[in-house]
């Protein structure tokens, strides 16, 4: 009995040491079975003609280190990108497999499951992160519309950072034009953020109120115009300028330019 234990013990210890040492380098924890399966599926289904191993660019764009947020990754993998060669994998993979590929690509963008240790940040960025996700800010917190590291709600991804706090308050009014649209449907008109546009269905966030409801319509019922009356500055009211500066410091740590 003892000799069997000894035979099994040493390889187990070696394996554990290997696993723990690789943890310190890789973005993803190697021992996680979901991510392992996701990496396998990625290698067999996503690489070759399109993406490259490890999330690098191949025939298709890179998917690693892009600063994508979780909901964007889920949407693109599940629904594909109409008009491109990116198919809707939600129709080709069973749910467990789909979720594992999503988890793997998320991990390539630094999105870890909640509960794991959040990444270490410099002091001001850490304060900014606390403010970003502060539950006592209630509906005024950034996390009601943006998510990082698996926390928050992803209404809209953050791809481009304004230079300063004034730029944050004036987002959409100066510099880069607003990415929101004006939707008209059955006599109703409202500022909208489009999340999913399929052949026969469209889902948009209605930005009239905070929190913004996600509304589903037949595609043909909705007409969209570029731009809208909605202003990002109108939802920042609960934060002081100093707090927004800390939040920008946090965002500089987590957002990669697209």
């Amino acid at each position: 009995m003892r000799s069997i234990v000894a035979v099994l013990l040493w390889p187990t210890i070696v394996l554990l040491l290997l696993v723990s040492s690789s943890r310190s380098n890789a973005q993803q924890p190697v021992a996680d079975p979901v991510l392992t399966r996701g990496a396998e599926l990625y290698a067999q289904s996503c690489t070759g003609f399109c993406h490259a191993p490890g999330g690098a660019a191949g025939g298709a764009p890179a998917v690693a280190n892009r600063g994508f947020d979780g909901q964007y990754i889920e949407r693109v993998i599940t629904y594909g990108v109409p008009g491109t060669a990116m198919p809707p994998w939600g129709q080709r993979l069973i749910k467990e497999e789909l979720n594992s590929v999503i988890a793997y690509v998320k991990s390539l963008n630094g999105i870890v499951s909640p509960g794991e240790n959040p990444r270490a940040l410099p002091f001001e960025a850490s304060a900014g992160r606390d403010l970003f996700f502060d539950p006592t800010m209630e509906l005024g917190a950034c996390s009601n519309c943006h998510s990082f590291d698996g926390k928050g709600i992803s209404v809209a991804p953050i791809g481009h950072l304004p230079a300063d706090v004034a730029g944050l308050r004036n987002l959409g009014r100066s510099g880069r034009p607003s990415q929101t649209k004006t939707a008209t449907v059955r006599g109703e008109t409202f500022p909208a953020w489009v999340t999913t546009e399929l052949k026969d269905e469209i889902r948009v966030y209605d930005m009239t109120t905070t929190p913004p409801p996600l509304r589903t319509f037949p595609r043909s019922a909705v007409t969209l115009k570029d731009g809208s009356t909605w202003q990002h500055g109108s939802v920042l009211g609960k934060y002081t300028d100093q707090e927004l500066a800390s939040i920008l410091a946090y965002l500089h740590e987590v957002v990669r330019p697209q």
């Binding site: 209605d206 905070t210 913004p212």
Partner: protein, 557 residues
């Protein structure tokens, strides 16, 4: 429409009226405001919360013939089936623990559509939703990860959904059934500060929100020591009531946090453990009544408010009757929140010696650090838990499921870790002098508490009660029996073993000219751990998530 259906009922050939148990055949039957007719349109029957049906096709003369008509196995049994179904136009809507929603044909049980809610990855899987609301062509569902979802009533497809708040940071959620009133759908939520929010049923735009803990500068904020208000909680975790005459919504607020331990939140802690009357249009507070200032026993006020009109001391009054978890009932004037009286309704109460005419708690027994731990009666489940009473306008009686258990409170100081504000836990104990706990379904006068009859039970009665114009009172028990008592005498007239403990709310409705009774079955698997302390045999009670539906056999009506 409602009156027409009742007339049809009354005139139906062969329907048994019994002796004086229903309106005279052919008479224009008056459906009392708080009664349901063919439909069961909202969580508590109507927004007056009576859980009372005017249908009398099944009554004391024929209920013994009630038999299973169909069953629906939802498959989602991890947390039982704790909801109350809704029935509209012969279609039954039921939600399950994981926030799945099913639309079923009320006569055959055939599934018309299903909706399987998918929480955002990483968020808590939604558990323990207590029901849906139906209105404006939609079915509304509140999820434990704090989403309000509107589904198309005919197809079950998502029309809109809105995050009531970010669950991943605030650990907020919606436990109770939403309410549809006029053009709004209203939900209570838990969170660092509990709140009540109204949304436009058409498009999900927020109409208003009321935080149950006032913020800085707001009246009542001074009743919290320091910044303890920020995490004061006051969860709103059940459906409310609504009086169309007053245009007032009535919601109950849960306990202040940290639970049991109050050294860092001295003060009355408004508006926790209070009844709130909110203006329907604006969500502004019209009046409040705080039953338990600086609660240290977890006496949430979230249970239902019975809205009945009754003569009190020679004057007709519009009342609100609430049975508090701590074993006292509060009788208020629902137009202005005046306290008209209180009465104890449980056998074992020790956390207070009495409550005086002004509502002041006399002789508080606050839990203290042990050893020994403080024994508090009733237990944390409450002398009455969140399962709801029923009121019958025919007998004028309130039918209440009352629990007799106690517990040791184990207090915990803050440990020093960030975010730990202290709290405590509890260990179930039998009442002093008793071998174990027990319960009883009582018929009592809602204003005086005078007991007319009592139905004793050896385990717990944790399902809501249903009363009907057939002079019947229905509920389910821990062993799995769904049974009917005579509303006037308490005599058991019928029962059926459904196979699993009851923790939801049964309803009755019409479909195809027949009266059906639908009861959810299945209690949370973990809840039996609580019961096992008092009754080891609770370990053998089955888990389930099944809707069991009964009717009179076709030839027996």
């Amino acid at each position: 429409m409602m009156t027409l259906i009742v007339l049809t009922l009354v005139a139906e050939p062969g329907s048994t009226q019994g002796t004086g148990t229903g309106p005279a055949a052919g008479a224009a039957a008056q459906v009392p405001r708080g009664a349901t007719a063919a439909d069961w349109g909202t969580y508590s029957g109507t927004t007056l919360s009576w859980r009372y049906s005017s249908i009398n096709q099944v009554n004391t003369t024929n209920v013994a013939k009630l038999a299973p008509a169909w069953m629906f196995q939802s498959g989602d049994y991890a947390d039982g089936m704790q909801s109350t179904p809704i029935a509209v136009d012969g279609v039954v809507f039921i939600s399950t623990a994981r926030s799945f929603v099913f639309a079923l044909d009320g006569a055959s049980g055939k599934m018309l559509w299903e909706y399987k809610y998918q929480p955002a990855p990483g968020n808590t899987i939604a558990l323990k939703t207590r029901g849906v609301a139906v209105g404006d062509g939609k079915v509304f569902l509140g999820t434990r990860d704090n989403y309000l979802v509107a589904l198309d009533q005919k197809t079950g497809k998502e029309v809109w959904k809105v995050a009531n708040g970010d669950a991943s940071t605030c650990r907020c959620g919606i436990n109770g059934a939403p309410m549809v009133v006029k053009d709004k759908v209203i939900v209570g939520a838990i969170g660092p500060r509990g709140n009540i929010t109204a949304y436009d049923t058409k498009n999900g735009h927020m109409a208003w929100r009321f935080y149950v803990v006032p913020g800085p500068g707001e009246k009542g904020n001074e009743t919290w020591e320091g910044d303890s208000w920020k995490y004061g909680a006051g969860a709103v975790w059940t459906a409310g009531s609504y009086d169309p005459e007053q245009d007032l919504l009535y919601f109950g607020v849960g306990d202040p946090r940290p639970v049991f331990y109050s050294d860092n939140r001295k003060g009355r802690n408004l508006y926790t453990c209070a009844i709130l009357a909110l203006d329907f249009n604006t969500g502004k507070l019209r009046w409040y009544y705080q039953e338990i200032p600086r609660d240290v026993w977890d006496w949430d006020v979230d249970a239902e408010f019975q809205l009945i009109d009754r003569e009190v001391r020679g004057q007709m009054r519009k009342l609100l009757v609430h049975m508090n978890k701590g074993g006292y009932a509060f009788v208020l004037d629902r137009t202005n929140g005046d306290l008209l009286g209180t009465y104890p309704f449980a056998d074992h109460i020790n956390w207070v010696k009495s409550i005086d005419a002004k509502g002041e708690l006399v002789g508080r027994l606050d839990p203290a650090f042990g050893p020994p731990n403080t024994l508090i009666c009733p237990s944390n489940l409450g002398a009455k838990s969140w399962n709801q009473t029923a009121f019958s306008p025919r007998t004028g009686l309130l039918y209440a499921p009352i629990l007799e258990m106690c517990n040791d409170i184990v207090l915990r100081k803050p440990s020093g870790a960030s975010g730990d504000r202290g709290g405590g836990t509890w260990i179930m104990r039998p009442p002093p002098g008793k071998e174990t706990g027990y319960s009883h379904l009582d018929a009592l006068d809602p204003v005086t508490g005078k007991k007319v009859w009592t139905y004793p039970y050896k385990y717990e009665l944790l399902a809501s009660v249903l009363a009907t114009a057939g002079d019947l009172v229905f509920t389910g028990d821990d062993e799995g029996f769904y049974f009917a008592l005579d509303a006037k005498t308490g005599k058991k007239l019928w029962s059926f073993q459904t196979g699993a403990s009851h923790r939801g709310g049964s309803i009755t409705y019409m479909a195809g000219g027949r009266q059906y009774f639908a009861t959810p079955t299945g209690r949370a698997a973990t809840a039996s751990d609580i019961s096992m302390v008092l009754w080891p045999e609770a370990a053998s009670w089955r888990v389930a998530s099944t809707l069991v539906v009964f009717a009179l056999p076709e030839d027996a009506r």
